[in-house]
Symmetry: C2
Subunit: 107 residues, 2 copies
């Protein structure tokens, strides 16, 4: 994971509508939800929703698959875990020994 990808992924969830979408998809499990369902639940117009889904897809945080006329979107857990791992490693947070001591040094 490089810094560009990390920023792309962070940007994609650093927005209220998208964070809510992602959260909803996480809750929905790997089966995911059709776009229309997401829009209805979160009260987001179709074109706006499509824009946000594209952002999340582009960042790799969600996947999609077509099921008849519906397009199911689902959370990409691996990608999210990768992002958290990047932040934990690169930004040191999460490491207890990193907080107050100088133990945490440049990698």
């Amino acid at each position: 994971m490089d810094i560009k990808s990390a920023i792309l992924q962070l940007s994609s969830i650093a927005q209220e509508a998208r964070l809510k979408i992602f959260r909803l998809l996480v809750q929905a499990g790997q089966e995911g939800l059709p776009a229309g369902n997401i829009g209805e639940t979160l009260q987001i117009p179709a074109s706006t929703l499509s824009f946000h889904l594209k952002e999340l897809s582009h960042a790799g945080l969600i996947n999609s698959r077509q099921v008849s006329r519906f397009i199911y979107y689902s959370a990409n857990y691996d990608a999210m875990n990768g992002l958290l791992a990047y932040l934990t490693e690169n930004c040191c947070a999460g490491a207890k020994d990193c907080a107050p001591s100088p133990t945490c040094k440049p990698k």
Copy 2:
């Protein structure tokens, strides 16, 4: 941690200059670094740097303290850990059992 705060913090690191600043401060340890030092290291003009530092401060991800003529900025590890905890809990990532199984359900 509410969604607004999470987004404020995510937005503040979802930007190349700011993610680099935060990373640098994490590496610097709790002593932190004076603004000028950060700007020189990352090649960022003073006014631009000040803008980014304000964003990070506003989000609560960094702290500052004045030491004579210098203002030292340092990473707020607790805030970052809080953000990661929020993402882990709310967005499920990080939980192994969340990945492929339907074990992970709405909280």
